[in-house]
């Protein structure tokens, strides 16, 4: 694998020298086999790097979802009855095969989504394999419970899988978000039908090629197609026992309503508008810590801002605003936007033309509502084959929290900066949003950090760090950011139900009749 500091560009999938073999067309992965969509329709999958086709993937219909559900139902009892030891072994084998093919998956993911390969090599793929290992290990330590109701009556509590679950994956971390959903579901003994995001349907199929000999048939099924067709058929099905979704709020409401209609549980992660708060003491010294804090602000451009927890609102204490933003803008100037398979690229293209249009539109909205543009603000037309790619300059606005660019998730490399006087105002601004997924607090004063961590209404408050996603730390939303948690063993609660067996060891009748 190349070192991340030395110039190197991977050949795109399918070209000579690329670590990624490419077929002209892929099918659905159902029941351990590659199955053509019933209606025979396919869609072209584009790479955002150049706007050109990668391959073709199924444009499936409800019939294909039924096939996947058939396969899942055929597999569910066998998988649920497998010993924990064996299930754990399969999850570890998934992790091993991801690691053994990390370079191939990193390049495929980068090409499908547009994210820089230095991110997929260092973050997406290692986190994905670790996620399987985490759930492979925690299930070995899970125990039910026994309680003595009285000396002859014992209550046994078992955790049993739900059965067949439906999982809808977003486009921003196609493989990592799939790992976040698949690992706990199958670790808990469920089988799954996956609907990948329409802009990123392919990298998960490269993963399934690797998993084909490892995972029993029907345990993981993947059906590609439009949300209005495949996603809806899956989410409304009477044949799923739970639905999990990451995406926007309108579809989130539909998902939760369908779950209510079928009386099944749902978990949703619906985004945020996360504040990243910098107190004046970050500039108390010009040291490693300040350098880390500056990078902490610039992390709004990580994964081109296409992150549910994008720290897209920077709240900077007024007393340091001028000096601190100058240092940050200097760091933003050093962002290297370009070919995502260039190992030195730090900012790739937006995932789709639709997202590029949306970001462009929000910049216009920001300017119209009077925000001050500090840098960026335009589509970046790169030379040569990248000219048709969906690149947008890293952008920073200064304004106030009532502006629309401070209230709505733009999902692009667009930062909205404002200032605050004191801790109370920082808390007020931080919480003045519909959402509550993530937040960042930067201060050398850990007493203040503690107070802030408790006062911010968000599911995760990164303190003197940002954008870390380790397995073992629960992740999920307050307020309109969704219901449920991920990346923690408490996920096993979302994917199991409790069986109570209440046993009487007494030979005596109750005496009622």
């Amino acid at each position: 694998m190349p070192v991340l500091e030395k110039e190197f560009t991977y050949a795109p999938p399918g070209l000579a020298g690329s670590p990624v073999p490419l077929k002209e067309r892929y099918d659905n992965f159902i029941g351990g086999r590659w199955v053509a969509p019933k209606k025979g329709q396919y869609a072209v999958d584009l790479t955002p790097a150049t706007g050109k086709p990668i391959t073709e993937v199924p444009k499936s219909t409800a019939e294909d979802v039924e096939l996947a559900l058939d396969a899942a139902h055929a597999a569910k009892d066998g998988w649920a009855e497998l010993s924990i030891k064996e299930r754990s072994r399969v999850l570890n084998a998934i992790a091993d095969v991801i690691d053994a093919n990390a370079e191939m998956l990193s390049v495929a993911e980068s090409w499908d989504n547009g994210k820089p390969v230095r991110e997929t090599l260092s973050t997406d793929i290692p986190l994905a394999s670790d996620h399987f290992r985490y759930f492979a290990s925690v299930i070995r330590g899970e125990e039910g419970s026994i309680s003595e109701i009285d000396k002859d009556t014992i209550a046994y509590q078992y955790r049993e899988p739900l059965g067949v679950v439906g999982q809808i994956i977003p486009f921003n971390f196609p493989l990592l978000m799939a790992a976040w959903k698949i690992a706990p579901a199958i670790a808990a003994g469920n089988v799954t039908v996956i609907k990948p995001a329409s802009p990123t349907p392919w990298s998960i199929l490269k993963l399934m090629e690797l998993l084909e000999p490892i995972v029993p048939a029907g345990v993981i099924n993947v059906v590609n197609g439009p949300g209005a067709e495949v996603g809806m058929a899956l989410a409304t099905s009477k044949r799923i026992a739970k639905v999990a979704f990451t995406g926007e709020t309108a579809t989130g409401r539909m998902i939760m309503q369908y779950a209510a209609q079928n009386l099944i549980p749902s978990t949703t992660e619906l985004g945020g508008k996360s504040p990243n708060i910098f107190f004046e003491d970050v500039m108390a010294a010009d040291d490693d810590y300040l350098d880390k804090a500056i990078e902490g602000l610039v992390l709004y451009a990580f994964n081109k801002g296409e992150v549910c927890t994008c720290p897209s609102r920077a709240l900077i204490q007024a007393s340091i605003y001028d000096k601190f933003i100058e240092r940050c803008l200097g760091r933003i100037e050093k962002i290297k936007q370009g070919h995502p398979l260039d190992i030195l690229t730090t900012l790739g293209p937006q995932v789709s033309k639709a997202q590029l249009e949306k970001v462009t539109n929000y910049v216009k909205i920001g300017l119209d509502e009077g925000a001050e543009l500090l840098t960026g603000g335009h589509r970046n037309v790169l030379p040569g084959e990248l000219a048709e790619g969906y690149y947008f300059e890293p952008t920073v606005f200064k304004g106030h929290n009532k502006m629309r660019i401070f209230q709505e998730e733009i999902f692009g490399p667009v930062l909205a900066v404002t200032t605050f006087k004191d801790e109370a105002e920082a808390i007020e601004i931080a919480n003045d949003t519909m959402y509550g997924l993530g937040a960042g607090v930067w201060t050398r004063d850990m007493l203040r950090a503690f107070r802030m961590g408790r006062a911010i209404k968000a599911g995760r408050v990164w303190t003197n760090c940002y954008h870390l996603y380790p397995a073992g730390a629960p992740f999920g939303g307050y307020k309109a950011s969704g219901v449920g948690r991920e990346t923690h063993k408490m996920m096993l609660d979302h994917y199991t139900q409790t069986k109570n067996v209440l046993v009487s060891y007494s030979p005596k009748a109750l005496g009622f009749f």
């Binding site: 977003p170 926007e248 997202q355 949306k358 709505e408």
Partner: protein, 106 residues
């Protein structure tokens, strides 16, 4: 109802008419949040229970257009102009089947 807060481009209106002919009465709900968050989502009328906290902003062609009340307030009660662009979005919106997506153009 907040009077006349939404319009559609001629291309969007044509698509809405076509979707209505195929699927019957339609409703839009303005989305928010993650991923395709700012997308107007087009669905069959009755597909989603419109609640007491949704605001009717007007009609575009045969379709009523709603937005969550708090979202509308926080966005500064904007006027919406709905257009259409090529490429499927990533929501459950009906036009995704035809590789198109509704978008706010103004």
């Amino acid at each position: 109802m907040e009077e006349d807060r939404v319009q559609a481009t001629p291309e969007a209106l044509e698509l809405i008419e076509r979707l209505a002919a195929e699927h019957g009465p339609l409703v839009f709900l303005q989305s928010g949040g993650c991923c395709d968050g700012s997308s107007p989502v087009c669905m069959r009328k009755g597909e989603l229970l419109i609640g007491p906290n949704d605001v009717l902003l007007g009609e575009i062609g045969p379709a009523a257009f709603y937005v969550d009340h708090e979202q509308f307030e926080r966005w500064g009660k904007p006027r919406f102009v709905i257009g259409v662009s090529p490429g499927a979005g990533d929501t459950f919106s009906l036009e995704g089947r035809d590789d198109l997506h509704f978008v706010i153009v103004g």
